[in-house]
Symmetry: C2
Subunit: 322 residues, 2 copies
């Protein structure tokens, strides 16, 4: 008797705090999800063993007959070609870790790994705002600024697997000190932490009276700036304008590079919606070379914040099975 078996992908998102894993079908349904604390596993082999055991256990609770199509992994400093994470500053495992091989060996199926922003881009291409697009750029605006670039339907990995670091293009060589050790990187301005730095700088100078004056500076977050801006707080609105101008200018540069159909914004700061999207779009057009004007859409992600990382990781598998 012939039984139709449903292919499933294991999606794994490696973060500094949590490792989230789940089973995802080809339509982007998340059939199970779980997580472990990253720092509970100083030994990476134990982490792999534990996550694989949990995944197998979860699978036994899902109704149906399944084939495991593969494993997709999103990880900071992930290298697609080698399936490694290398010197990721926020992870407990040091040196070069062949994480894709470790998972592949433990489960007996192929494993694909890339960095979080590339996985997010893949998620949008397979399940989200970039469905049907061949040329787009994904920008994740979290603590830093991550990017995933798709050209001609292919992720851009570059010759070493590390392409797509738009967060570390330079806005001002004499500008803000970046975590990477250099000065003036885009992510020091255009990110959740970047806008917080902007507000703190503004509060340190003569400035319009602001709702943010009443908050301990250590407690200022992108979300609180967003809330103040929704209440028409002038300083908060100026901070969004300042951030958007810099991001818009660098997006115009990115368009001159790869001429994408759309740029998709995702992550903490992107949740500010029109407060960010309208000025970013305006400044991007102001700074755009004529031949590209009014061609490039700036879109919000269509993946829910909580699902994006798992869907992105699973997309690495479905992309191979396209």
């Amino acid at each position: 008797m012939y039984t139709m078996r449903t292919p499933l992908a294991a999606g794994i998102d490696i973060g500094g705090t949590n490792i989230v894993y789940g089973w995802i079908d080809r339509e982007g349904n998340i059939l199970s999800r779980g997580s472990v604390l990253t720092n509970d596993y100083p030994d990476v082999l134990q982490m792999v063993e534990a996550v694989v055991a949990f995944l197998h256990e979860d699978l036994s609770f899902i109704d149906g007959d399944f084939d495991i199509a593969g494993i997709g992994i999103g990880a900071p400093n992930g290298n697609f070609y080698k399936g490694t994470i290398e010197f990721a500053p926020n992870l407990p495992w040091k040196g070069t870790i062949y994480l894709a091989d470790l998972f592949s060996n433990a489960m007996g199926v192929p494993a694909h790994l890339t960095n979080d922003a590339n996985a997010a881009a893949m998620g949008e291409m397979i399940f989200g705002a970039a469905r049907g697009m061949k040329d787009f750029i994904m920008i994740t605006l979290g603590t830093g600024l991550g990017s995933g670039i798709v050209i001609g339907g292919q992720m851009v990995y570059g010759h070493d697997g590390f392409a797509g670091e738009l967060g570390h293009t330079i806005v001002d060589p004499e500008g803000r000190l970046c975590g990477c050790g250099r000065k003036g990187c885009l992510e020091t301005y255009a990110s959740a932490s970047g806008i917080v730095r902007t507000v703190k700088e503004m509060l340190g100078k003569e400035h319009p009276k602001s709702l943010l004056d009443d908050i301990d500076q250590r407690d200022i977050t992108a979300k609180k700036i967003h809330e103040a801006a929704l209440n028409n707080d002038r300083l908060a609105l100026q901070a969004f304008d300042y951030t958007s101008r810099i991001l818009g200018m660098k997006l115009a540069d990115a368009v001159a590079f790869s001429s994408p159909e759309a740029i998709i914004l995702f992550g903490g700061l992107a949740n500010a919606g029109e407060l960010l999207f309208l000025p970013v779009k305006k400044y991007m057009e102001d700074f755009m070379l004529n031949i590209f004007k009014n061609k490039v859409r700036v879109l919000p992600s269509q993946l829910k914040d909580d699902d994006a990382a798992l869907l992105g990781a699973a997309s690495l598998v479905w992309k191979e099975h396209a």
Copy 2:
């Protein structure tokens, strides 16, 4: 009887002053070449007719039995997808010209067209410094700054065919006025005309005594600045340093985008050799994100100035026959 017929490509380089055409074999030998004056042909159809007639005539003088494999065309503002030139400011034909179709119909073989910098990149990939490379960036430093980007062995054309305009990424939004109407584009600094502007600015302020003081400002060229620098002229050396710092910084940005194996510099300003290459390389490394440091070669073109345009155009044909 079976005769081995040699495939040949017609290469055509469309310029504001001359249109150069020739027959090129698969090994990059230029078997014939000729040119006409662009402005002798206000009607584009007459230009196509004339060039095709000259090409046929030339072919009759080449010994051997040939197949015409195709036509490759490099042209300013060329669009690969549509085979058009669109609103090229220095050409006599206005509006959108379907130049690839016109040539293809006139010769009865396929024709491929792209902009000059992309053709140059293709020429390096097939015949020059980028042989065997899958990821590199070509920069042409002439009157302007053109660029051709190759990722995974494919030219980057973008969703509209106009990708690769690194000359119009922004160095300083309050900077020099560019021919494109915006301010602070890279090509206003890093190009043959950019370094001339730099020297004129320096001569207009307090400056070290210079060999260039004795030249009428209208006669200053990149070549004369190069010659002065070879004579250890301080002002000329400072101009090269200033130019190289800006170019190096923007090349570091380009590396963060596509992580190429090499960057190839071509054209008037690149002929300055080490005077340009050494400081560009140094500043690029200074501005480079750690993970990319000491990985990316900066190479001179391996095509002779006089041959590059024809070889680039012909490469469009050989790329299709790879």
